[in-house]
């Protein structure tokens, strides 16, 4: 919902101020698409390149997210993780400043999630991206985020994960005791 408001997909009260000329790349959560659409990854990438008048080399971009021949296949033939990586590549077309990730690893198996998170981390450094990510996976949040904004019905808080993701505060937000493990901490 927060991201839908940020990209202007739903009406909202209040004000959203993007810096002028900001370019946004958006990676949605698992899309509800028919499996037999005759659309390939390359169809999608070149469609967006044409719309935003980008100058990306699409094969290189696909390789960057770990896809090779897969971009020539219909998107329904890709695995969940491959498709999400394709969507990351799609978000990168047009050289965005900000990447919005809306639970983009949901429904992907554990190694696939790991790979996606790692991919975004390296892309963030390479492209100097601001990454806003919605996630329910607290251990991922703990390891990746520099700042955490938590929202619940009647409470919100913002700050670095070490300060926010404390058992006491989490219990207050979720309304119940929450356990999570910080690996290597």
């Amino acid at each position: 919902m927060l991201f839908k408001a940020l990209i202007g997909a739903i009406p909202f009260a209040g004000q959203i101020q993007w810096s002028p000329g900001v370019r946004i790349g958006y990676v949605p959560q698992k899309l509800d698409l028919e499996r037999d659409l005759p659309i390939t990854g390359l169809d999608l990438l070149s469609a967006k390149r044409r719309v935003v008048a980008g100058d990306e080399q699409l094969d290189a971009l696909a390789r960057r997210v770990g896809l090779e021949r897969e971009t020539r296949k219909p998107i329904g033939a890709l695995s969940g993780g491959q498709f999400q990586r394709l969507l990351v590549a799609l978000a990168l077309v047009g050289d965005p400043d900000v990447l919005l990730l809306d639970e983009f690893t949901a429904g992907v198996d554990a190694p696939g999630q790991e790979r996606l998170t790692e991919l975004v981390r390296t892309l963030q450094a390479e492209h100097e991206l601001t990454v806003l990510s919605i996630s329910h996976d607290l251990s991922v949040v703990y390891r990746s985020a520099s700042n955490v904004l938590c929202l619940s019905r009647d409470r919100s808080c913002i700050g670095p994960p070490r300060k926010i993701l404390t058992p006491a505060l989490l219990e207050e937000i979720y309304g119940t005791e929450v356990e999570f493990h910080v690996h290597g901490a």
């Binding site: 991201f3 839908k4 990209i7 202007g8 997909a9 946004i24 790349g25 958006y26 949605p28 899309l31 698409l33 028919e34 037999d36 659409l37 005759p38 659309i39 390939t40 390359l42 169809d43 999608l44 070149s46 469609a47 967006k48 044409r50 719309v51 935003v52 020539r72 296949k73 219909p74 998107i75 033939a77 969507l87 799609l90 978000a91 047009g94 919005l100």
Partner: protein, 254 residues
């Protein structure tokens, strides 16, 4: 004779356009809606005949109105759209059926040979150029939009406007085919070639190509057979399309 050739050419152009538009209709999962959508033209034809104006004007006006209804509803929810299309547009068929009768009604429903006037020919040519240009120019926007409206938005696409333009082109496409297919069958010329192409194609360009090929093949063969057998053109064209679709089912799935 010249007008007969022009009529056949216009049918071929209409079929190509129906194939192109159909691909996006099918990928948007509007197959069922497309069928009912064409029914809305009938009351328009009835009113036009009663007033003594060209039925195409009445039909086009009603189709544009129908497109606005779908657009308005889709801005709210998808489920309501299905219901309303099912109820409102099918009732339109009933209302239209009451307004016309006899030969006129049969021609309006199934398409008839009817004389093609220069005015209708000019309308057909202009509409075909408008729709063809739209699909070619907006193809990339349409693809992003049907995969994810949110991704389309972040690429700077005005989604509501694109949807409205698309529905208008869809309405025009139906209007184009009414003369030779009628309100009952024009929806099928949009849907059947596209679903056939969807089964055969491996990418978007192939899908567009196959859809045009199937629509044109069915139209040319159907027009020829109907002429030979002295039967209405619409049912024969759609039957040929359906046969091609069934044949496509034999293709091994990937």
């Amino acid at each position: 004779m010249a007008l007969e050739v022009a009529a056949l050419l216009l049918s071929i152009v209409t079929a190509s356009i129906a194939g192109l538009v159909g691909c996006f209709v099918v990928m948007r999962r509007m197959s069922l809606a497309a069928d009912a959508f064409s029914h809305v033209a009938l009351p328009g034809i009835g009113v036009a005949l009663a007033l003594g104006i060209h039925p195409l004007f009445g039909a086009t006006a009603m189709l544009v109105f129908g497109a606005l209804i779908i657009w308005g509803l889709e801005r709210r929810t998808r489920i309501a759209t299905e219901t309303v299309i099912g109820v409102v547009f099918s009732s339109a068929l009933a209302v239209g059926g009451m307004m016309s009768s006899g030969e006129d009604l049969v021609d309006a429903l199934l398409g008839g040979p009817g004389q093609l006037g220069p005015g209708e020919l000019a309308f057909g040519a202009a509409a075909a150029i408008a729709i063809g240009t739209f699909i070619i120019m907006q193809r990339s926007r349409l693809i992003l939009w049907l995969v994810s409206a949110d991704i389309a938005r972040t690429a700077g696409i005005d989604v509501a406007r694109l949807n409205l333009s698309f529905l208008m082109m869809f309405a025009l496409t139906i209007a184009l085919g009414l003369r030779y297919l009628g309100v009952l069958l024009m929806g099928s010329l949009i849907i059947i070639p596209a679903v056939t192409a969807k089964r055969l194609a491996r990418n978007l360009t192939e899908m567009l190509g196959y859809a045009v090929a199937v629509a044109v093949a069915a139209t040319v063969a159907g027009t020829y057979l109907a002429h030979r057998a002295h039967r209405p053109t619409g049912p024969i064209i759609i039957t040929i399309g359906a046969v091609l679709f069934v044949a496509s089912l034999f293709k091994r799935t990937r």
